[in-house]
Symmetry: C2
Subunit: 568 residues, 2 copies
Amino acid sequence: MTDPETTSTTTPSGTGLPVALDRFAAALGAANVSADPDRLREFRDPYAHPAWTDHQPAAVVAPASTAEVQEVVRIAAETGVHLWPISQGRNNGYGGPAPRLGGGVVVNLRRMNRILEIDPDLAYAVVQPGVRFFDLFEEIRRRRLPLWPSIPDLGWGSIVGNTLDYGIGFTPLGDHQARQCGMEVVLADGSVLRTGLGAMTTARTGALRKYSYGPSADGIFMQSNLGIVTEMGCWLVPEPEVYVAGDVIVERPDDLRMLIDTVRPLLLDGTIPNHPIVYNTALIAGALSDVPRSHWQSDPGPLTDAALAKMRHETDCGAWFMRFALYGPAAVVDHQQALCEQAFAKIPAARAAFRRLPGSRAVETILGQASTPPAAGPAGAVARLRQQSDSTQAGIPSLDLLEHLSWDEQGAGGHLDYSPVAPLDGRSAEDLCVFLDQSCRDVGVDFAVSLMLTPRAMIAVVSLWFATADETATRSAHQAVRSLVKLGAERGYGAYRTHLAHMDDVASTYGWNDHAALRLSERLKDVLDPHGVLAPGKQGIWPASMREPTRRPMPPLGSGTPVDGTVH
Amino acid sequence: MTDPETTSTTTPSGTGLPVALDRFAAALGAANVSADPDRLREFRDPYAHPAWTDHQPAAVVAPASTAEVQEVVRIAAETGVHLWPISQGRNNGYGGPAPRLGGGVVVNLRRMNRILEIDPDLAYAVVQPGVRFFDLFEEIRRRRLPLWPSIPDLGWGSIVGNTLDYGIGFTPLGDHQARQCGMEVVLADGSVLRTGLGAMTTARTGALRKYSYGPSADGIFMQSNLGIVTEMGCWLVPEPEVYVAGDVIVERPDDLRMLIDTVRPLLLDGTIPNHPIVYNTALIAGALSDVPRSHWQSDPGPLTDAALAKMRHETDCGAWFMRFALYGPAAVVDHQQALCEQAFAKIPAARAAFRRLPGSRAVETILGQASTPPAAGPAGAVARLRQQSDSTQAGIPSLDLLEHLSWDEQGAGGHLDYSPVAPLDGRSAEDLCVFLDQSCRDVGVDFAVSLMLTPRAMIAVVSLWFATADETATRSAHQAVRSLVKLGAERGYGAYRTHLAHMDDVASTYGWNDHAALRLSERLKDVLDPHGVLAPGKQGIWPASMREPTRRPMPPLGSGTPVDGTVH
């Protein structure tokens, strides 16, 4: 590509933006358009160093309806500015609401916050992109419907945004892409379409069955810059008769192998119907202990065995802690719990714990428990993780995990995530974690990991923590991610999501047949958005005018200058 | 469109085809290329009237590898012939292997019949398009692997072809689009790509997780003419400890409503993890009784209440018969069975039956039972349906349903299917079946239906039976489908699949915002296959040169003359 960070595109700087802003204001109202640097601060990468200007938008607009989104897209196309649509923009470890390419206009969809439908019998909802996990949960609770939404660990995100970015949840419908059903999408030419059965004007089945007739387009709008999703169907879990939140702690790092091989059959046959997470010691001690890193180790170098032993001793979280949950009729769940107990009993010194609640009282009970906080400091870490897990796995959104992220002394901790995918078998898990541990040591960052398990694959989310005020540390974290992406790809680990600054790097690792998959995305981009109005560079997909045949790595971080807001 | 049935395209007739055939023969070997009318007979619509020439291919080629498929596509593009790829081409109620547009070249992928991988631990396979359900089953059995494939009711079809055409199966992984994972696809320019994590050359996760990085392209290759799928990952079910095949019979037509409302919660919470099918009396009496229609009623007019009563009396199949199955650890399955029994006991006069087998012995036991056939004639119909269901729901392929289709006196019965989708609630099921029953009566065909249930939607497959030797009857069946498509769409029923002759009609029913979804498919077609080499007209998607702005209905059936094999 022509280095969009540092080079102007063909149109002279600024020509398009002032005109676009006037027209945006006329279409949406002046209050919903802003180029004020103070208001734009909200749309920065929250963990970027304050002095960095990469990924800085020139303006923000906030349409309130599909028609307004269409109008915004048309104005952008006509004036030559590029857009960066966000739903809530809360994927903070990956850049938050900030655009890949600086200088463009953030399309903030938070005002499109209507829950268009909730059907208690058929267990689905239809939502706009501004609807947060919190909002849907509260509406279901307000209407006393026996439905549980599937949610990720932090509840402030958009249901649509999370789904489109391949987010994962933790009820039995935690495969958020699978439980998505039917989209309304605005394309780069300002036209709008509905996917699936919703494409029949008279049909009532748009959110009930994913496949209709002809090609299924939903997938091409995920992790994509081919359209703006303005409505989405979303399946919900019926409130179970019984809910059991479980966890198992294993003591030795080497026990991971047996833990994974033990849980896989339980996932494949549906005994455990949700996505378990396996956390390592450093993750729990770092994210849930309410103490700074210096509590464990004063040396800023890699965590020593002594520090890790201290973490295990003070938190009692073991080497690995796996959470999971069971849902269903009482007798069925009781037997599933017994099967889990029998399976985990075969792992030496494994400790399994189960908390059983009637489904009809689970939500109020769990919300009530939040008022009795666990012991302060490391002694309360496991209890905090259990409270948070019990809540998330029942579809009750919270921000608990954020509140306890205390790695940085100044309380201004940021993180950057590297998220490789590996097969779900013990040997692969071991190989992956040995690789990640060693690579983190080599680049001087702590190895804190969550392994999200699906029946056949795991996604490791490595959270690199740093103090956002420390430019060197922030830069190091980015360099570490870049290194991990490259080294991981050499070993067959594909990243499923990444920070803005590494989107080209990750794209370049999917290289089969000269990047044939990326080239397909580029062909779709060229026909659906020939001028590159929508999110240029997202996931490494650039419009033709910014593309170069060789997919070279990105320039160093923090060196970028935002270009003007034009794309053609 | 420019009426491809009756009008020549721009290139003079025949220019491209002779050259193409020579080049195909040079590339694939003469034995794998044929324009011999005798050999081409195999690639006709098996239920078309013998005198009809619509959908008649000009030649067939049979590549044996991805590289040969690429070569075929390149030759077609260069010589201007159009292709109709088939995997096995067994979707007979929808036209079988015949092309939408006559005069082209069938790309017969049956020689690409390699099972590339079966992994017993991670429970998946990777297959080429020529691999039939029979083949994968036999290979798993030969290797004594504890895995069950998900299969449809007839086992002769291609795993890939069924998946791409939105086929459904009947184990817990019966959502075949969901259990598909990773594709290799040849595009119209002869290039090849891999989707998902398989796009990373080093990755071992291509068949383990569906979403990788950037847009997910798999969906656009389903019911599609945008590419030729040459490999596909496919998840398998681990052999359960216990397998229970169940069914429930309700006596009165009105009981359908309560049956559907009773089963929906059991589907939503996973108690019943597969796709049940609900059959009506006429379907069972017609497809499984081994007697001709005249046994029930000599009048060729609509089945009378007396004939339906006779069917119920002689077969004891009730007004509705629902099959389903349970899979898992013994204690869990036992409780799930008890929950089903309790639920169905609330329906007046409902009769539930359960057949329980240890998973490890289920396959051999069921295969052994096939040697002890049920009573002859109508008295054996329910037993035959149970044998067939027990087999299919355990992943054991058969052709049993074909053997008993005996509606036509001469034994030359054909069928044409209309397949609308409706919400899974009792009221909707009742409304749908009242509409279908009345509409079938109005057009003079019998109302024989299978309702395939998913947790939120049902697909009704209405099979219109006729004697293929009877041109009037065949024409009537087609006219009936055309009428049902139109009337159904007015009521919000979208068809999910259709016969070649009705592809444009069904496409025209998905009309939201001036056919925005179809227009998206057309834009993708234009960029990926600008010359319309691949399957022009499939699912109503025509290349630009054959498209007309107004999507008018098709000409009458049986009136078509195949055009020459050229597209540009």
